[in-house]
């Protein structure tokens, strides 16, 4: 996988610019709160339009202000685990997981792996913080994206759970099943993932 | 199909009487379609399935006539009516209606009611009568203009208006109002209800019903409801 990002945007009063390339299995955006990590993920996912720049994933241009290219989010095949989860409140956990699933049959196994097999008939409203996050991870994975964006996926998880999911992510990356762009404050996580780190602190 | 009789709302009871009588005579019961004369005339213009049109005033019949929507030779003035002054039933006053009669004193600072003279036939006749009798200027400031004559009647029935000018037929139909005086027929243009067969609704049955309307059986029903026969 190759990922090439060069974007400029206004974030509130601030002029923001970031450029990086990576062909690592796990690339990590690292930087202080408010430095623009989530905004960068939004631009890659197609949810926020950069003022200028170019985003290329695996040779396909997703965005290019010069060439007037701007693929729709659904055409980008970029799975996202949002910082605020964004589960669909009116769908059960099961239907959240299956929403974008390419191979629905894989759902039960993944749910078991994430420790949410017992929650399938719950409403998102009744999940704890950590349960919510695990469902969001499962939902994104089942859509079989060609690039997975993870925005602090281990927040709200206890140590055991966090380690379990870290293991899962490591497995995904190692088997090259799906390349990952990872946001975290925790260097320990990044080391465990053997991530190529993009330091956004100026 | 049964005949559709498009008739002004103020004819509601008598048209139903007529329909029942016609049915009793062995015909299919006609369907009374009641509404404001203006609305009915516009509907006929738009192609309403009317066989006969019974209007509460002449101007809307004229409109259809000019538009060539009436069957030639079928238009006739059918009914007449009288204009009366009504008061709530409990009010025992009698009023002699004549030139410069004390209408304003009767009403005082309260409200009296009739149809809107700008648009409702009964209001037009009332304005004409009061003008001819020389009391319109004094009466106008306390006038409440109702949407139609039955709505005017309701104000008097409930005592919210101290007096009203309505048709004799309406006064007769309500037990809650009393006729305090009758306007001289010469004080206003004649009140006539024209009838005609509508083009497109012409049929032997329609003609037969028109003849029935002008015959003795119908006359009895009209008179029982307080109408006079034209001519």
């Amino acid at each position: 996988m190759s990922l090439s990002v060069a974007v400029e945007a206004r974030l509130g009063e601030r002029a923001f610019a970031l450029a990086f390339e990576s062909d690592a299995a796990v690339t990590a955006l690292f930087g202080a709160s408010g430095c623009g990590k989530t905004s960068t993920l939004d631009m890659i996912a197609g949810l926020r339009r950069p003022d200028a720049g170019r985003i290329v994933v695996d040779g396909e241009t997703l965005f290019d202000s010069a060439a007037g290219v701007n693929l729709q989010p659904e055409a980008r095949r970029i799975g996202t685990v949002f910082q605020d989860a964004r589960l669909f409140p009116h769908l059960s956990v099961r239907r959240n997981l299956l929403y974008g699933a390419r191979v629905p049959a894989e759902m039960p196994a993944l749910a078991a792996e994430l420790g949410i097999a017992g929650l399938l008939d719950r409403w998102p409203r009744h999940l704890s913080g950590g349960e919510t996050r695990r469902v969001a991870i499962g939902r994104a994975l089942l859509s079989k994206p060609r690039l997975l964006l993870l925005d602090e996926p281990l927040a709200h998880l206890d140590r055991a759970r966090a380690d379990g999911i870290l293991e899962l992510i490591r497995g995904l990356a190692a088997a090259a099943r799906v390349p990952i762009l990872y946001v975290s404050h925790d260097l320990r996580e990044l080391t465990a993932l053997n991530a190529r780190i993009i330091d956004m602190n100026i | 199909a049964p005949l559709n009789i498009y008739a002004a709302s103020s004819l509601t009871e008598v048209v139903n009487d007529l329909a029942d009588a016609w049915a009793k005579a062995g015909h299919e019961r006609p369907v009374p379609v009641l509404g404001a004369s203006s609305a009915l005339a516009r509907q006929v213009q738009a192609g309403a399935p009317a066989n006969l049109f019974l209007s509460a005033d002449e101007q809307w019949m004229d409109v259809l006539d000019r538009a060539g929507l009436l069957v030639a030779g079928t238009r006739a003035d059918l009914l007449t009516n009288r204009l009366v002054l009504v008061v709530p039933a409990a009010d025992r006053r009698k009023v002699v209606i004549g030139n410069n009669f004390a209408f304003a004193a009767l009403v005082g600072r309260a409200r009296w009611v009739t149809g809107d003279p700008a648009s409702v036939p009964v209001g037009r006749y009332a304005r004409a009568a009061l003008s001819n009798l020389g009391v319109w200027a004094a009466a106008e400031p306390t006038l409440a203009r109702a949407e139609n004559v039955r709505s005017a009647l309701a104000f008097v029935e409930r005592g919210d208006a101290v007096a009203g000018i309505v048709y004799a037929t309406d006064a007769k139909a309500s037990a809650k109002v009393r006729v305090a005086g009758v306007f001289p027929a010469v004080s206003h243009p004649p009140i006539v209800y024209p009838v005609a067969v509508v083009k497109g609704g012409d049929s032997a049955e329609a003609r037969a019903f028109l003849a029935f309307l002008r015959g003795p059986a119908a006359r009895r029903l009209f008179v029982a409801r307080g109408f006079g026969m034209a001519r």
Binding site: R86, R125 | N4, V33, A48, P49, E157
Partner: protein, 225 residues
Amino acid sequence: MSEAETLIILLSLKVALVATLFSLPLALALAWALAKPAWPGRALLDSAVHLPLVLPPVVTGYLLLIAFGRDGVLGQALAALGVSVLFSWQGAAIAAALMSLPLLVRPIRQALEAVDPRLPAAARTLGASRRRAFMSITLPLAVPGVLAGAVLGFAKALGEFGATITFVSSIPGETQTLPLAIYAALQVPGQEGVAARLSLMAVALAVAALLLSEWLARRARRYRA
């Protein structure tokens, strides 16, 4: 209940249901267009939708009569298809639908605007088209508002009087719905009892519709319980 009354009630129900079923998709489309960020002509469309509320009902009825009449554009188009809505229950349904349209559009638009746009955005990152995201996320989340609009519209369709009597006249058995029958009864002194009786029936129908919509809305909001 007399046979005539039963007929009037069934006719009223038919007219109001058909009116609501036809205006609902139109109202959804309008609400969707009005909920989108400002586009040229939006204010115009918004105003047009509100017209039946602002104009006296006779005017709306009269305009319908002109449009669908013998010489009207829509009337001639329908005539070419061999259809006439004039003076028929279908015409009554058209009048009721038009008069209730603004009452449907507002609550639906409001509900669509209240949906957090980040949710359909999340759906699109999962591969949903704009259309699927709307149908599977935005619209279901707006269901309580759609029901609120539908029940307002249905109540108005049940109660519509002025435009109906002006457009299709009050033909017993064909276009004489409950409000028209109530009005007719009020035209005859001493018939207030009949009017009251018919009014109670209209109220009963509306209450039934209301209870149904409340139940549906509660179901639609189960996930918030």
